[in-house]
Symmetry: C2
Subunit: 380 residues, 2 copies
Amino acid sequence: MPVVEDIGDGSQDSLLCRVTANGHVGWGEAVCSPTAGIAAWITPMSHSGCHPVIDSVLGQNLNNPTDIKRIYNLVRKNSFYGLLQSDLLISGIEIAMWDCLARSLEVPIWQLLGYKKSEPKLPYASVLFGDTAEETRSKAVLINRAGFKAIKFGWGAFGTTCLGDDEAHIFAAREGIGQDGMLMIDAGTVFKDNVAEAAKRLPALKEANVHWFEEPFDGYAISNYGELSAYQPKVALAGGEGAHNPYQAKQLIDYGHVEFIQIDAGYIGGIGNAYEVAQYAKGKNIKYVNHTFTSQSALSSSLQAYAGIKESNISEYPMEPKALCQELTVDKIEVDKAGMIYAPDKPGLGVEINLAEIKKYLVDVEIKVEGKLLYYTPTL
Amino acid sequence: MPVVEDIGDGSQDSLLCRVTANGHVGWGEAVCSPTAGIAAWITPMSHSGCHPVIDSVLGQNLNNPTDIKRIYNLVRKNSFYGLLQSDLLISGIEIAMWDCLARSLEVPIWQLLGYKKSEPKLPYASVLFGDTAEETRSKAVLINRAGFKAIKFGWGAFGTTCLGDDEAHIFAAREGIGQDGMLMIDAGTVFKDNVAEAAKRLPALKEANVHWFEEPFDGYAISNYGELSAYQPKVALAGGEGAHNPYQAKQLIDYGHVEFIQIDAGYIGGIGNAYEVAQYAKGKNIKYVNHTFTSQSALSSSLQAYAGIKESNISEYPMEPKALCQELTVDKIEVDKAGMIYAPDKPGLGVEINLAEIKKYLVDVEIKVEGKLLYYTPTL
């Protein structure tokens, strides 16, 4: 984007990965600081466990889902040590591999995962809190009028001023959406590991009948989630967007006792890992929810993993993406008349990248090591 | 290094961070793929939680330990989302801040942490398995003769061929070191999350009387550590070098039931985080051990956090570092006549970076974004 604002909005940038195999092309987006992701792609080897991601991906065969898993495992094995960024980069590449493979077979990705049907999901509008409680209320009214039965407010100043302000935002959101709407609150990790401080918000959250309280703590602070889950009044916890591998998501379920596990395929290592968590959650009667705050391509990626799980029937729907993420795809996953969305019933991700439109956003990056040009931005 | 081998040896590269404040200079090493770490330093902002690390560090005041914690917290707050590599980069910067501050106050870092005394630690020689069991035995004999009472063998082909081969290496190591030596085995995460496969090694490990069995699993696979800890025959587990924040280390203690927690200050976010884990471990009667496989500067960094904890009396001592890590410092932490080592009783880290020697290893890196040079290697 020409201007990037210092706000909790991940739609201001995109690390878009293109995979070519057997004459087919696939695309995937990583939730990843782009320049750091590019560096993970080409950084010279330091250690058998610290290879650049390129070493495990380029030249591999891609003929079936087993190949995708094999290539993912290669990256984890060859790049796990000192190259944490590889977990994010591979997420975009893995999604692009699924897209490429499923397009070549002319089936949706969710079919390759073994689902028979793409089940309806209730999309919730995911937006930032207003600067004032009144602004939060107005946003809720507008979104409600636009036909959304569910809204999530998050980030902004929540947790950074005082309890009274947070309560005002919570009640304003409820007022705006009406008594029947489904309301969620996202603290954006603001309480870090301070359970007592987060717990002070529980009475208001309970009174406002919120469906879940999301990410009160640092994504790694799993035992703090577990502690808060035992507090009264009891409010269902949600989290998981910070999971960059399936282990962390499972731990958030088992030790953190979240009731909603929210996974971003572009963060957790791709669609295969997201699917693994979705199945694990299903086995534990935990609701799986996608995390998506950016483009329609990212939305489709994150819907695939649980497309066929009927019980997990809620979906995060990005409402205010910046122009880059709006223009990134030709098509959109539209909300139907019943107010529901579906993972597309089309080959691959089922959305087309709009190369002509996004060309103008392409940023030239060059990385040279010892005078050798290891990376330069390819043409679109 | 002119040549980097594809082996489990982290001493083949170094991301050395230099901090200047109030006219003083400090140095710290991050266990971090250098080019990826540099990218985390300067990558353009994507999101309020995805700032380049430079935004939270440059221009800050550095007058006391509280400032170090404050700057670390800023990095976590401003760079936690989509920039995982920042956890590793900040480790080197944080260490350099301690070095800089302690030098300005003319005290060792461990004194700034509140320790009254630097307690003796039994250094164990940390080496790679031989290519054959016979080679492992010979290495053990030589190291034993060099005066080391404790040896750890790790990585190599362990876990990648068959149970018989692993058992042969374990028994050869025991034979080489003798019945009285302290022997540790490091699986280098090779079993990923396969508890049954790791458990097959327990009888041999028990019979060879190993002091601990290290990193059988992926560093994130905490519940698998917990499962293996309940197997018979019982062998003490060790792990933690993959912890890039204190939450993970505490979870490995609480849920993984390791009996030894091994922390690399250059990975976990620096000396402050390592200290936090050391104190936590002490409170739970778990032995804290440094993880160090590279330079003497890294060894000193990792010794600081538990320098004053008498009960945690073992230390990993790098035995076979490549030339870069041998030449990195002017001085060494020598093993004394009683076979013990100490965190240095000198200002800062107590070891001097040998700029004249390591100049030849300096690698030119250039990162350009939209034609703007965001990073180039500074002169030494």
